[in-house]
Amino acid sequence: MAPKAEIHEEQVLQAVILAQCEQDYGDPVTQDVPKVLAPLANTPLLEYSLEWLERCGVEEAIVYCRADTHLETIREHCRAFMTRRGDTTPATTHPGGLRVNVVASEDCHSLGDAMRDLYAKSLLKGDFILLQGDTVTTLDLPALVTEHRESRAADRNAIMTCVYMGEGGKVGTTAEKTTTATLLVSASTNKLLLHRRRGGRSTSSRLSVPTELLQGAGDILAYPAAYDPSVTICSEVVPSLFSDNFDYSTLDSLVRGVIEQEELLGYTIKCRVLEGGYAGRAASINSLIGVSGEVVGRQAYPLVPEVSQTSHRVRYHHDAFTHTYWDPSAKFPKGSMVTGVVVGAGTEVSPTAHLQNTTLGDHCTLGDGVVVRESVVMTGVCVKAASKLEQCWVGDNVVLGEGVVVAPGCVIGAGGHPGGSRRSRPRHQALCAAPPW
């Protein structure tokens, strides 16, 4: 979809992906691999966003990250993304494809810092799409941008369009407290009147609606729990607002500030609550597992596990009946005991294992009678017989002894060797960089 040509210049559609700015997974996961490159259904997270942006016809994506050890990895990855198109037929309509620009800064600790830096470097030329690095989305971004531009043309003060998912889109398992918000939106103009994060510091969940809002704005739609996928369409005013106010560190604070100072500054924020479409945010380990389950369940079509996002080739076989994806070289029981699973290359799963809603990386070995439910397992993991894993994240090259029971929420770092017959405490993180225990 080519962008609309303005009177003087062509507007380049830009997107900003914020990597590593908020809510990290924590060390066991990110010691080797940055959060945005953590695999989700055996594909790096960043890949989903870049691929989708390219399909939407976005011309330039700026990946903003902190200048630490992982910066080179991210740069390398983005370079590989841009050059991969050389040997595949591009599925995009725009001939140039997506240009990925990695911008890093040492002081970036929040979204606010990133925005200020980008504003100082004058890299943003107009309206842009703002995504968090861990969002997996298949929303119709060009349509949202067009709507944003139209509302901006009608009212110059509408500086931002927030996108939320209503009831029909996604609610339930992975909707954590930090990613849902209570919203009040004017029914006629889609203006955001009130925004409050649920489950934050305020314990009372009563909603007080000032009646003057009702008298003035007409009918109001109240969304008690709208899911926030961290997709926002911003205009060029937004980075300048961030640089004017050093208090604004997150998008929430900007939203609150703009609403409170509406009389002073005159800016308004529009809000779109979508009923259809998919957007999920893998902000924490639990939601990573949840979003992984949804992608495996093909909710993020056309970003499906069996097509590798890097090479656009079908890498896995797919059984729609049991929702299983497996590499041709993997050996595992193809029956009803294995559902909703992604099995990587060279992995061997014993015939008596039960697998449910998990992702197994390459070269794993699962022994007899192993039960794995709703977990993410990385490469080279060896799980000996009779172990149980539930809702956990297991790093590379971990060897789990016999009869190990891993409680929900645990994270086992790479290289660990939890010995036989031990039960781990719930949400226990085992960091293992050193030799076996």
Partner: protein
């Protein structure tokens, strides 16, 4: 044989917002386009198929109300119940006084209408929705009418706050209602309400039309002396918000009867919930955890006006000739009554309404006005944009403009933007503008 529904019309109201008009006539009998106001809800019920209606009136009015059926050609039987207005009862109090009369019948639903409602809604649709969605309470709502006509009388600054009604967007379920005047700066929605997680539509431009369809057990609960509703006087302002909030929390204290204790459900209700696979949305489909009572709204986008303030009453009267067929369909009542005598040299405009038995003499000019029954308009009278009540005589040579005349004008004068309810206040040859000419009380 169980009767399906019982209709109750509340006509005992004193008309607190139009006191200048209601000093002589009770509010329900005020003329609205040559018919008393009470005829409109009765006709509405008649259209929906009711053959019997209970009417609650204040003392002294039962004769007049009782005769209305023959006088105006209505085909319903009226069961008139009298309440005493000694202590200013609210709508619920007056219902409690006549509770015995209602309980004798065994019905499934009770329809409660206020006597000042003028609307073109098809009541049958409201009842159908109530039954098919399994609601325990259905409230008729409509967009608040915007009134363009200016009423006569002194300019008053009374600005009534509008009702605030909050419904679940899409299903129309009522989750919060508060009457105008009962809230100040903010409206608080409880967390139990917000847990239903569906988008809610909060509206201040929708009015509660005071037409309620209630299930029988809910009606008994409201009238029960043991329930928390026993202290509440007004149906719209107190009892309705209480019932609506009971959908989410049960306000039962130790000595009062809780709502959940009073609910009557059919025996097979749980079975239906379990095995229900129908595609038609009903109360078994709701996302939220439903506790009884189930309150729904029926939103009617058409005409729906409550004639309980001077402004709305005036607006209805002025527009009645356009709206008559909408709100009073299938009737033989004509706005230009056949027994009205209009002498040839009188000029009566097309959109004027003339009641039965009225005599309009020659050389008069009547434009866009409503003239009641048995009036006499003497020659050389100019009447424009005004409303006349019944039995009003206008003396020769009067000029009357944009006024509401409920008593005879016996002397020649000019009246503009006034309300006249007492003949004695009119003096010969004077010009009255923007006043209310009514009988003041003597304290002798």
């Amino acid at each position: 044989m169980r009767q399906e529904a019982q209709a109750i019309v509340l006509a005992a109201g004193p008309g607190m917002r139009m006191t200048s008009l209601t000093s002589h006539t009770p509010k329900c009998l005020l003329p609205l386009g040559t018919l008393p106001m009470l005829c409109y809800p009765l006709h509405l019920l008649q259209q929906a198929g009711f053959s019997e209606v209970s009417v609650v009136v204040s003392e002294g009015q039962e004769q007049r109300v009782g005769k209305m059926v023959e006088q105006y050609g209505l085909k319903v039987d009226l069961d008139v119940a009298v309440v005493s207005t000694a202590h200013d009862p609210g709508t619920a109090d007056s219902l409690r006084q006549i509770a015995s009369k209602i309980k004798q019948r065994s019905v499934e639903e009770v329809v409660v209408i206020s006597s000042d409602l003028v609307t073109d809604v098809a009541l049958q649709d409201v009842l159908d929705q109530h039954r098919s969605r399994g609601a325990d309470l259905t409230m008729l709502t409509s967009p608040t009418p915007s009134l363009q006509t200016t009423p006569p009388g002194p300019k008053s600054k009374t600005h009534l706050n509008s009702d605030i009604i909050c419904t679940e967007a899409g299903s129309g379920r009522l989750v919060y209602a508060v009457a105008g005047g009962d809230y100040d700066e903010c409206v608080t929605l409880q967390s139990s309400l917000l847990n239903c997680a569906a988008p809610l539509l909060l509206s201040a431009s929708t009015q509660d039309a005071h037409l309620y369809v209630m299930k029988r057990w809910l009606f008994d609960y409201v009238l029960n002396k043991e329930s928390p509703c026993a202290d509440m006087g007004s149906l719209k302002a107190e009892i309705l918000p209480h019932i609506v909030s009971c959908q989410f929390t049960d306000h039962s204290s130790n000595d009062k009867l809780g709502l959940s204790g009073a609910v009557e459900r059919e025996e097979w209700d749980d079975l239906v919930k379990k095995y229900n696979s129908s595609v038609v949305p009903s109360r078994h489909h709701s996302l939220a955890h439903l506790q009884p009572p189930v309150c729904l709204t029926f939103h009617h986008p058409g005409l729906c006006v409550r004639a309980n303030t001077l402004h709305t009453y005036w607006h209805l009267n002025r527009k009645i000739n356009e709206l008559f067929n909408q709100v009073y369909p299938n009737s033989e009542w004509q706005l230009r009554h056949p027994t009205a005598v209009i002498i040839e040299r009188a000029q009566v405009s097309e959109d004027s309404v003339v009641g039965g038995g009225t005599m309009v003499c020659e050389k008069t000019n009547i434009a866009s006005s409503v003239v009641g029954k048995h009036c006499r308009i003497n020659p050389l009278v100019r009447l424009s944009s005004s409303v006349l009540g019944d039995h009003v005589t206008l003396a020769s040579g009067c000029v009357i403009e944009n006024s509401l005349i409920l008593a005879s004008v016996e002397r020649k004068c000019v009246i503009k933007n006034c309300i006249v309810t007492d003949s004695n206040k009119i003096e010969e040859g004077k010009t009255y503008s923007g006043e209310v000419l009514e009988a003041t009380q003597d304290f002798a």
